[in-house]
């Protein structure tokens, strides 16, 4: 059934021109519908402004820096020591938000370069090339500001996620992820997205948001240029691709950011006006946080399909605490609701001041595409493929007995278990040597009790990262309850690499 039209975009634009348009923020719309109902709200309101301000890694900027003399066909280039990619002809470059400074990785990256340029700062630029008959230069160095660029456009492949996972960590160590810092043993949780303020949550059937929709982007006008990558409408996980003129943007709404041990990114402010063309849109823009759900996902599991530990609403997420199993867990937003609200207000002001007009999309966003996993043709090994039976002992044994076992089995690691085979600790041949040198007699004195472990379904790369991070040479393989299933050593891993 097609919803009955109550006004057109042309009519709304006429009202904007006269300064008569009734514009409310998404927050105000929800209150209005609650007080007066959908029918009245649909009649009164012309436009609802929605917004989000979150970290968006698939962000970047296309720039054109003009030709040098003698000219150069750039092969590789850097801005403030961040490599910028060269996707096209001689002097077109793309600053990717996640590319990191080679000397300050994880602290400074493409997102910061974009922010500094928008702030009007100068960046150090250098480039190299192989040289051709038409482009003879092989090196160029300069300093550049945004005014030196012919084009400087934000071009983001994926933005404005309709909703996103809530992240939590079951491991016994802190992990650093694109969802921020996650404390061990479900110590905290994080979420992203603006919930009921998010543009796509307020237009979930993509009736008004489509290719060509004019939006607020980073403090300037921008456009939706299509669905974003990984657009997944069937699961209410829509995304959009956007473009906007960085030269007109404001650093208040575009921020370089660094997620410790994960990398750099860009916070992008997006505001989208939703024209209330029919009652259905008035109803949709009244959506509340308690109606928008997401899954609590265990990021402690280093796999594509991470286990879900439950469902939570954005109402619960925004309250600062969620319940996971029996536990109450503090939860951090990673998006800034404060800035999102400021964007919705700013966009509302622009429309009221006749400084921003609405557009009809020239094409709808797809509503039925799927987001498939990668086709992999080579099998990736997991810990269970490489693990071998562990040589074990119990805490009551003597150092001599353990030393003998190390020699008999020619191993370097003895896993200490209790009577039921649960992990109690680990002893290495080095521990035994040191015990002899220091005259220690009791095995219990030399057991390492905080043991870094692996699980059978863990990728080999993840196990290998743990060995390097902790500077150790073996990981007992345990099940979720801590029962020892085997052991994986650095020798097993190097054998795998040698083939």
């Amino acid at each position: 059934m097609v919803a009955k039209k109550i006004r057109t975009i042309e009519e709304i634009n006429e009202k904007i021109k006269k300064g008569d348009a009734v514009v409310v923020t998404a927050e105000e719309m929800k209150r209005l519908v609650e007080e007066k109902g959908v029918k009245v709200a649909a009649k009164e309101v012309d436009v609802v402004t929605t917004a989000t301000f979150g970290a968006m890694c698939s962000s970047g900027a296309v720039i054109n820096i003009g030709h040098a003399d003698p000219p150069i066909k750039i092969h590789r280039a850097w801005m403030n020591n961040v490599e910028v990619s060269h996707p096209g002809a001689a002097v077109d470059l793309y600053i990717g938000a996640t590319i990191m400074d080679e000397d300050r990785p994880f602290e400074y990256g493409g997102g910061h370069v974009i922010e500094e340029l928008i702030r009007g700062k100068e960046v150090e630029f250098r480039a190299t090339a192989y040289g051709t008959d038409c482009y003879p230069s092989t090196r160029v160095e300069s300093t550049l500001t945004k005014d030196d660029m012919n084009q400087f456009y934000l071009l983001n492949f994926r933005n404005c996620y309709q909703r996103y996972n809530c992240a939590i960590n079951s491991r016994d160590e802190t992990i650093y992820t694109y969802m921020g810092k996650l404390l061990p043993h479900f110590g905290n949780a994080t979420f992203s997205g603006a919930g009921e303020l998010n543009p796509l949550c307020n237009d979930p059937d993509y009736e008004t948001i489509g290719i060509g929709t004019r939006i607020f982007l980073g403090g300037a006008r921008g456009y939706v240029i299509g669905e974003g990558t990984q657009h997944n409408p069937r699961n209410a996980l829509g995304t959009i691709m956007v473009r906007g003129d960085c030269k007109k943007m404001a650093p208040e709404f575009i921020r370089g950011a660094a997620f410790t041990n994960y990398g750099t990114t860009l916070y992008v402010g997006i505001g989208i006006p939703i024209p209330i063309l029919n009652e259905g849109l008035a109803e949709k823009t009244s959506v509340r946080d308690e109606e928008i759900y997401t899954n609590v996902i265990d990021y402690g599991v280093p796999r594509r399909d991470r286990p879900s530990l439950g469902r939570v609403s954005y109402r619960e997420l925004k309250s600062g605490k969620i319940t996971v199993g029996e536990r109450e867990v503090k939860v951090s937003p990673l998006s800034s609701l404060k800035v999102a609200k400021r964007i919705a207000d700013t966009l509302k002001g622009w429309i009221e001041d006749s400084a921003f007009y609405l557009t009809s999309p020239v094409e709808q966003l797809p509503g039925d595409t799927v987001f498939n996993p990668m086709r992999q043709v080579k099998e990736i090994p997991f810990v269970e493929d490489l693990a071998r039976p562990a040589t074990t002992c119990n805490e009551e044994e003597t150092i001599e007995a353990v030393a003998r076992r190390i020699i008999e089995r020619s191993v370097n690691h003895i896993v200490v278990v209790d009577g039921s085979g649960y992990l109690k600790g680990i002893v290495t041949s080095w521990d035994i040597t040191r015990a002899v040198a220091n005259g220690r007699k009791e095995l219990s004195e030399i057991i390492t009790r905080r043991v870094v472990t692996a699980t059978p379904n863990e990728p080999i790369d993840s196990a290998s990262r743990k060995l390097t991070q902790h500077n150790i040479s073996a990981l007992p393989v345990v099940d979720s309850k801590g029962k020892v299933l085997g052991i994986i050593t650095s020798e097993d891993l190097s054998r795998l690499i040698r083939g």
């Binding site: 921020g180 810092k181 994080t190 921020r255 660094a258 600062g320 951090s332 998006s335 404060k338």
Partner: protein, 126 residues
């Protein structure tokens, strides 16, 4: 209460300076955070505000470097009020205000530093 940060050099760590001062001055010090190795280290402690001067003087007389702590520093210009720090804080010193901005409670803060590397815009200095 006032927080003081005590810095012990390698030469001082084998002396029971902190307990000696507690006994001498009969002032209860609450140790909030300690990281001391044989090479030296730091202790963060809460001291009743009325006794701060005496306690600080006593530590300094024994060669300990003392800094009076003011919790974490937040660069308001860099902070985007995202709240990534909020769930990390073990003592609930970080909260949200009505307008969704972040509030830091210096009184509660124990300067543990956990929030520092959780901040995406590096606005927090501990």
């Amino acid at each position: 209460m006032t927080k003081i940060l005590l810095k012990f050099s390698e030469e001082l760590v084998d002396q029971p300076i902190t307990s000696q001062i507690i006994l001498d001055l009969r002032v209860p010090l609450n140790i909030l955070n300690a990281n001391v190795t044989p090479q030296g280290g730091e202790i963060l402690a809460d001291v009743p505000s009325k006794d701060v001067d005496r306690v600080v003087q006593a530590f300094r007389e024994r060669g300990v470097v003392v800094a009076i702590q003011r919790g974490i520093e937040v660069d308001e210009e860099r902070c985007i009020d995202c709240g990534a720090c909020y769930s990390i804080c073990p003592v609930d010193a970080i909260s949200f205000k009505e307008d969704n901005s972040i509030a830091f409670d210096d009184e509660r803060c124990i300067s543990c530093g956990l929030c520092g590397d959780a901040c995406p815009t590096r606005a927090i200095r501990v």
